[in-house]
Point group: C3
Chain length 361, copies 3
């Protein structure tokens, strides 16, 4: 059974295939209007995420399929102690494919292990959200025509932002991509992500200031800098404006640069930027729907394919340090992977030596 | 882009067009069973209103379209501080038309300003609920064959009932309509609504007693008299029975009079009235669905039409006094309209000099 | 109007008809893919029950119909004091058939009384859940090819389990069925259910121990033994393991025995049983969907048929002792039936002399 748990479950070739298909859907929607007739998607949401759910549901309707919405999973029999494995074996009787959202990290992986139908990870805590990354990739490709040779600026909270980490991991597989990491000291990209860049041989630089970085960029990916992330409120007050994109700052950018944002935004992009043709963030949500359509078609077609092993070599270890790891919710064998000498939890991919990122939550 | 925010956004001719279409749908449902194939409605509900939502969703299914239900908007990214304008630009990627319910007054208007798809106001606080009024109008027309020359009794809470105000504003545009306003002192029709009647040259009388008013009526529109509306409980106890419709009181009515009610009812119509052919309130809900079908068809067809300006001349004023005005939830420029020398908030239409109707809520 | 409130509303012949139809649907799903085109199901849920709702909704989609989900009924106008009778007359404008879930016992019956469309009871408190029993019956028939001559073991909580009582009442109508009642003293089958077995002339034995009972069984129906049911925790600790099905215990069973469970399970069946071909509990959920499909087809076809009276002779009595009886929520005439000298509430079927089973809830 083929699933999508993490963006790197898809090869570069598969991303290209999905991109082509999504672009074809955008051009010829009628061609796909009956592609999933008689098929059913269940959106199995253990926490609310209205726009992700809407995007999946719109995708399935536009393919001619049907949808069963489950936004009430947190009040359902999971309370009675049912395992995700059991839930999936039941749900598989009602759906051909499942999009699952869960507050615990690794939940989609655990769900996929026994699932008789494809599972799409629609977000598992702060861990992965691969269809957001697919939306990001399609946006880059539709707007700029290529993945190669781009200078990608990532601005704001690079420490906690899972969309940023996921986009980096997806983009570093392309030729001559350069990353400009624009963040305050408190929210710099974590060491293990920098290591991934180094291992891939990707060019990158770390800077503090958006304004000076902007002229070199082809893509500017904005994220929010939240007050809660700072121990010292005075530091936050001093730096915050630096990470807000205004019309003025945008005037220094290339004419073909694009501005992206995973949305919702609060004030990190001022609204006078919205009408600039470079503002791609609302088109990005449309691209999310198109990629979800392509993905649903691909997974339903490849139902009998094998899930790529991803080089995971399981071995028994201790208890995961991440308090939002699915192993804290369900009794599961403690499994770790080892890559470049670092152990990672096989479920939530928390690094052995990293302080619990969900501490205090 | 054409929206429906307030019943008076529709001209008398357009109401007639919708009425004709709804009556045709009732007679020939099969003709419309595929009219919206491939179209999607989102019910974007920021507060629950199950029956309104069901009516919209049933309407869209019967037109052959699809529905995405969003009843969880109050737990979604709005909490994170997203504006309605942003929400609509995202949602427009997932739907061809949106029915929106919101606890704040003026919310649907704000949503419509930037929306790339038609917005139907499915209730914004105590302000407008135009599809309820469409249901009421179709009921009058299907049951009595005309809007002209009718004597319309409105009974109960005429002070706070938005359905009553809306029906009056819709009906006073027809010829020779007479209004009989049946209410206790505490719940009389507000002064500004009486002014509207006077300006339109409509005949009306204010009375205290349902029993003596009933014989002259063609339409009796019932609403609930709630204990909470009275400062003095003794007054409530003394008057309440007067505003309850019983089989006995109904016996004095014309054979062709109709009884209407926006539902749900509690005890303001006793259940022994239900089987009387004059009891039109359950048929009224069916008419709501038919009018929503006609409206969806009309708005999708006229997507490129312009929203009628409604004679609104904006100018900057102070802060709206209504604590449920959408301007209290989002930062919006304070806009007022002026009509007949009275300033009204451009969002929620609260009158400048009227005490906050949502005080204490 | 024909409804399904209780499994015994269906005759033995009708169960056979539904079983045949469900088996035909399983074999030829394409034949039924358009059977309900243009029809709408409303899932009217006054309390969450995600998997029951999913099963009904999947059933309707697979028949080519549409679904309106109402999981928010508990926050809707019922709070405002609307009666179920009114709710149903409104809802009937939006649906061709309704599946209703309610925490109060007798609610589906009350809803059916005035409903212009068929009502399927999808669970009313601890009272009835007839489509679960249909799932159970189809499982027995598909797995074993017959209802006659079987030895049916029921294990665990036989006192409170409504699925167990309902299955017994359905199965005792077949030839030569023998029941083996496996339960701790605290959770034995109630006296009035034993009386039903005796009156039907069905063979049964009551035992304490699963292990010794297992070799004789054709069907083993497992339920959970909950700690809360025991006054004395020490007793629970002593007996609990006896009612857990393990691979080891299963080794003594017939090769053709089937293991059933209404799900969700916690630990009353250990997960190493899951891969045994006798483990029928996940197939049971699929059978639930198939029977719901057959039932929807049957009720829509027989819309104009009369509801079987079920021999109910109404007469006025006192107030029902069951605090979860729908008569505690709505003002309804107190009606009782009398059968074999025992009075039962006509709504929730609570026995006159039985202590309130919902006491303390």
């Amino acid at each position: 059974m083929r699933h999508l748990l993490d963006i790197t479950d898809l090869s570069v070739e598969e991303i290209e295939e999905l991109t082509r298909m999504a672009e074809d859907i955008a051009e010829h929607p009628q061609k796909y209007a009956e592609s999933c007739r008689g098929k059913k998607l269940i959106t199995l949401f253990f926490e609310p995420s209205t726009r992700t759910r809407m995007s999946f549901e719109a995708a399935m309707w536009e393919l001619g399929g049907s949808v069963i919405s489950c936004t009430d999973m947190s009040t359902s029999s999971v309370i009675k102690g049912e395992t995700l494995a059991d839930t999936m074996r039941v749900v598989a009787n009602y759906a051909d494919i499942v999009a699952m959202r869960h507050p615990y990290e690794g939940a989609a992986y655990v769900a996929s292990l026994k699932s008789p139908v494809p599972v799409i990870n629609a977000g598992d805590g702060g861990h992965c959200h691969p269809t957001q990354t697919l939306a990001d990739l399609l946006t880059v490709h539709r707007e700029l025509g290529t993945f190669d040779g781009l200078t990608v600026g990532l601005c704001g909270d690079l420490k906690y932002g899972r969309t940023v980490h996921s986009l980096i991991n997806a983009m570093l597989r392309y030729k001559d991509v350069k990353f400009v990491l624009i963040a305050p000291e408190e929210l710099k990209l974590p060491e293990y992500e920098l290591d991934a860049l180094k291992r891939a041989g990707a060019a990158y630089e770390e800077v503090r200031d958006l304004e000076s970085a902007i002229p070199s960029l082809d893509v500017l990916y904005m994220t929010r800098v939240q007050r809660e992330r700072f121990d010292d409120a005075a530091v936050y007050e001093r730096v915050k404006d630096c990470y807000v994109l205004t019309k003025e700052k945008l005037s220094a950018a290339k004419q073909k640069m694009i501005v992206m944002h995973p949305l919702p935004r609060v004030n990190e992009i001022s609204s006078d930027v919205d009408d600039d043709p470079r503002a791609a963030y609302f088109r990005q949500t449309m691209n999310g729907k198109l990629m979800r359509m392509a993905l649903i078609l691909k997974l339903l077609k490849e139902k009998d394919g094998a899930q790529p092993a991803g080089g995971k070599a399981w071995f028994v270890g201790g208890r995961c340090t991440n308090r939002k790891c699915i192993t804290r919710l369900e009794k599961l064998p403690p499994l770790y992977t080892e890559e470049n000498g670092v152990k990672k939890c096989a479920y939530c991919e928390a690094h052995e030596n990293v302080r619990d990122k969900n501490e205090g939550k």
